[in-house]
Symmetry: C2
Subunit: 220 residues, 2 copies
């Protein structure tokens, strides 16, 4: 059967105002020497589990976390259990964080005491990629269970990430995920990105990922 | 550590115009006796695979598919391979389908020859739930690999679904997914929803799910 394709064009004007606030966030964090990461993924790719697994391995690095979620504070409570300062932003239905939300959360954090601020965005491969939060780097997290086609289907996120974490590597034997193909697609679409296949559950690959986090936090 | 929570309020005015077009879509499909389903899930939960596995089991039911994706026509091509009429909507970056996009796709389908029209939304647990496309029923697809907390974290989608498909049941032994807990949460938040634990990959549970689809298509 033939396939017909209909293309829809949308304006992107609302991003201008966001960029100004993002620049202010970036300046505020740079002033205290805090490096900021924006973590993005589908729902359930394992962003929070990845932070839970990484934070205890980061040694003396002083980490703070901003959690974005529609309604709950489940993720911030998980992070706070590690003894790490966590602020929850509830977007009350909005599908992404924006710079204004982060600006409201920053005063709740002791920025002067933090080397690294991780912002966990709302679980969504589309909208978060369009909004600069004031981060110094972006991390795209992809779960093995999501399938190999995601970097092609959601290019905005994967093209703008400094690092891509391929999580749930322990599910590789039980899925059709084609790791060599995904690595090849990522090399083509975003050759500068560092790629880390890991399992936050088993710890596989976490050492290299944590080394990247430590290096990133030290780039001041 | 304590958790601070910041709530953000957003307006929802833009939905009014959508509702009018959705009503027109619904009327157009009702006029030809075509029942319409809106399938929603995270990226990679397996919506297309679920359709690929179900369509050959639906016997004489005449099925058409509208595929929503940001840029590619991969999913429509997968469906067309089954000999089923498939129309691809490219949202060009937009994170959800809306009624206007579906209205533009409907003329490309032979509605009078279709019993069931499945609309596969953009992979996203948030935004699609806010937009009526003119469907007669909504299906939320949740993958076992996404974790048990998704119905609580993304309530709008799971509360408004007539059916919830819990896919990738073959990954259950390899994940922390708590099926009894999720079933209990769904019973509480959406007691009217029919729930189908399935594996589109192994075929487990597909018979009950296809029976529901057939019954749904017959409700005219």
């Amino acid at each position: 059967m033939s396939v017909e394709t209909i293309r829809v064009d949308l304006g992107r004007d609302l991003l201008r105002a966001n960029d100004q606030v993002a620049a202010e966030n970036r300046a505020a964090c740079a002033a205290t020497g805090t490096r900021v990461l924006n973590l993005m993924s589908s729902p359930g790719a394992g962003k929070t589990t990845l932070l839970e697994a990484a934070i205890p391995l980061l040694g003396r690095l002083r980490v703070g976390v901003i959690e974005g979620d529609l309604f709950t504070d489940r993720d911030a409570r998980r992070i706070a259990r590690l003894g790490v300062r966590a602020v929850q932003i509830n977007t009350v239905g909005a599908c992404h964080l924006d710079a204004r939300m982060v600006a409201r959360a920053l005063p709740a954090l002791p920025l002067g005491e933090l080397d690294l601020l991780c912002i966990e965005n709302v679980g969504n491969l589309v909208c978060p990629a369009g909004f600069d939060l004031g981060e110094d780097g972006r991390v795209a997290v992809l779960s093995v269970a999501e399938g190999s086609d995601k970097p092609v289907k959601y290019p905005a996120l994967f093209r703008t990430a400094q690092a891509v974490v391929i999580n749930k590597l322990d599910l590789l034997p039980h899925s059709d995920f084609d790791l060599p193909e995904v690595l090849s697609v990522l090399r083509e679409t975003n050759p500068a990105a560092a790629v880390f296949p890991v399992s936050a559950r088993t710890g596989e690959g976490m050492e290299a990922w944590c080394r990247w986090l430590t290096d990133f936090a030290g780039e001041r």
